[in-house]
Amino acid sequence: MSTTWHVDATALASYAEGRCAPVVGASVEAHLMDCRECAAALRELLPHEPVERAWHAIRAHVEEPRPGFAERLMTRLGLSTETARLLGAVPAFRGAWLLGLFTVLVFAGFASLFAEDLGLALFLVVAPLVPVAGVAVSFGGDADPAHELVTVTPYSSLRLLLLRTTGVLATSVPVTVLLGLGLPGPAWLAVAWLTPALAGVSLTLALAPYVGTSTTAAVIGGTWSVAVLTANRLGDPVEVVEPLMQVLLAAVALVAAAAVLLRHSSLDLLGRHS
C-alpha cells in the first residue's frame, strides 16, 4: 500500500529506541504494517544482527526436507522424530515396494481363487516370502538408500535392526492376513504362513552378515518354494503348514533369533568400530 503520509523521522527514531509514548508507538506500528518505505527506514535505525540470526534458523527449517507421509504418520502416532525418520527410510515404506508387494499378493490371491490347489500352493509360497523379501531389501546395503544413515546412527545395532524389521512386518503382514482370509480352505490358513514367515525373516537376519542379504533371501525363497511345491505334488500344499511343520519352523525362528541377539550384543560390546 502506498500512502503519502509517512512517520516523522523523530517519531521513528524514538520508536526504534523504544522510548516513544504509547500513542505514538501505536500510530507508528499501525503504519509500519503497510508502509514499505517506513519499514525500510526503521531497518536503518535498528541493529540487523538479531533479525539475521533468526533468519538462519528459519532457513534451516525451510531447507530441511519435508518428512514423507509414513514418517509424519509415525510421528503423529508418538514415535520420536529420529525413529520415524529411520523407519521412514526403510525401503519397505517406499511407494514402489508397497506397490510391488500389493501386486504380488493380489496375483497370488487371484490364482488361488481360480486354481484351487495349485493356487493355494502359490499363496503359501508367496505369503511368507513377502516379509523375507522386505527384510532383504531393507538391509541390502546398496539397495537401501538409508544405508549410510543407519551406519552412523548412534543406536544399538540390535535396536535398529528390530526397529526396521518391525517396519517391514507392519507393512506386509496385515495385507497378507487380509488376503488369506479371502481364500478358500480353512480360516487358519490366513495366519498359518506367519510361522514360516517368521522363520524366514529371522534366518535372513541371522545369515545375511555372512553370505549377504540377497543370497540368503534367494536361498530361503528357493528352499521354501521347493518345499511347498513338493507338498503340493505329494497331495496337499497345506501340508507344509501342518502342526508338525509349524513347530519345526518355530524352532528355526527361535534359533535364528537367538543367533541374531548374540551377534548383535557382541557387536555392541565391540562398539561397532568395524
Partner: protein, 164 residues
Amino acid sequence: MAGKDEGALRELYDRHATWIHARLARRCADPDAVAEVLQDTFIAAWDGAARFRGDGAVGAWLWGIAIRRLISRLRRRTDVRLGPALLERDEYEISAEEQVLLRLENVDVGTALGRISPELRVVLQLTVIDGLTTREASALLGIPRGTVKSRLQRARTSLREELA
C-alpha cells in the same frame, strides 16, 4: 510464496522482519523469546503460505501470526517479562518533541489516549490496535477475562468523555 520459493521468503523477511521484531520487543522484554517468536512466525508463514487468502494485507497476516505466537510463548513460560508497551504503569517520559508530535498528529485522540490510565490503555492497545480477542488479551496480561472486558468498557467511556 505459496510456491515454496526461498527467495520469496527472504524478500518477505527483508520487508517485514524488522518491524515485527521491534513490535514484539515492545511487548516482550526477553530478547531470546522475541527472536524465537519471530522465527516461529516466519516458519508458520512458510508452512501456511497456501492458507494465506491474499484478501488481506500481508503485514496484518504476519502480525496476526506473530502476536498469537507471542501469547502462547508467554503462556508457556511465566518468567518472560512483558515489554514496555504492555506494562500497566507508565515508564515514559514524554519528551518535548513528542508532546509537539502528539499535538500535531493525534490532535484529539492522542491527548485523550494520553490521559487515560495505563491499565485501560494497555487493554485498548491489545484489543483495538493488536486485534486480539478479550480472551487472548486476558491470557497475555494474566488477568481475568472479565477484568479485560470491564477495563475496555471503562476505557471506551472515558475516551468518549474526553472526546465529547
